[in-house]
């Protein structure tokens, strides 16, 4: 489908592997060597405050964890499973109900052991963020990553 963009392919395979991202309805809308965007359409089941219809912060946490984690997959030379070490989020304004949210993630430093990422959640205007986050991921090494997972992400095996 997107043979010209291996980053998009790899990212799409990764998130389709994660059951809960499918339950929420996330899709990759953009991917490159440097950045990644995931779109999450509004859904009534994501609401945390029934009075306002605003989605719960936990949905944003999951979106940002997924966006940063997928960016890590694309930032490394080989497929490596990297557990999240920590995630720090500022919720700067409530998301508008009935509108998609977008998570734009970048890996700003890849070291031998740790990948440092940041992510902004917005609703079309990146200068009007809904949330900002930084997250760090531990590299466990490609040799410790299950082969079955590598095959799925490289498109050699189905999910």
């Amino acid at each position: 489908m997107h043979e010209e963009n291996p980053y998009l392919d790899r990212a799409a395979r990764f998130i389709s592997l994660l059951k809960h991202t499918q339950v929420l309805g996330m899709k990759i809308s953009d991917a490159s060597a440097d950045s990644l965007t995931i779109e999450l359409p509004y859904n009534i089941s994501h609401v945390g405050n029934p009075t306002t219809g605003v989605i719960h912060g936990g949905v944003l946490t999951t979106l940002m964890d997924t966006a940063c984690g997928t960016m890590v997959i694309n930032a490394l030379p080989e497929i490596e499973l990297c557990p999240t070490l920590d995630l720090r989020v500022d919720y700067v304004r409530a998301a508008e109900p009935n509108e998609s949210i977008f998570a734009l993630a970048q890996a700003y430093r890849v070291s031998r052991n740790v990948v440092f990422t940041r992510c902004t959640v917005h609703q079309g205007d990146v200068d009007k963020p809904v949330a900002n986050c930084v997250a760090t991921f531990m590299r466990i090494g490609s040799h410790l990553t299950p082969t079955s997972m590598k095959d799925v992400l490289l498109g050699k095996a189905g999910i």
């Binding site: 059951k19 809960h20 991202t21 609401v47 999951t62 964890d65 920590d86 720090r88």
Partner: protein, 146 residues
């Protein structure tokens, strides 16, 4: 939607917060449950295949663990404060200590470290087998006044 405010007010009177939680769609989506032991509250995230992130491990999606802890803190504050409004989350800092394994329930407990007139600081501990073996610990600030 005044139903939710009315339910919240009623819960503040009779101390039964289950109808409040039942009206929060995200709590239902992840399956959040709780039990009260006097003033103590333990929150529960029952094992659910829909909450799995990586199926090869398998592990609960880290975001769901975070969302569960955030939701637990909100409900904990609502229970302790007798306020007619939902607290708004300002920031959240989450340390993942172990994978939350699929096939197991996850639990959480909250502690209000400081509650001022406008802001509350809450720490949350999440575990699966023993509370000393945390799968994640978190700290959050909430705005209390609407």
């Amino acid at each position: 939607m005044a139903i939710f405010e009315d339910t919240l007010k009623q819960a503040n009177i009779d101390g039964d917060y289950r109808p409040v939680v039942d009206l929060i769609p995200y709590a239902k989506l992840i399956g959040l449950d709780f039990d009260r032991f006097g003033q103590d509250v333990i929150f529960k995230l029952p094992d659910n295949p829909d909450n799995i992130g990586n199926p090869i491990l398998p592990a609960v999606h880290g975001g769901v663990v975070g969302g569960f802890m955030e939701m637990a803190a909100v409900i904990h504050l609502v229970m302790m404060m007798d306020t007619p409004a939902m607290p708004k989350i300002v920031d959240f800092s989450l340390d993942y200590l172990r994978a939350a394994k699929g096939g197991r329930d996850t639990f959480a407990e909250c502690q209000v470290v400081r509650q001022g007139s406008r802001v509350a600081n809450v720490v949350i501990n999440a575990w699966q087998t023993r509370r000393e073996e945390s799968v994640a610990i978190a700290r959050a600030h909430f705005l209390l006044a609407p």
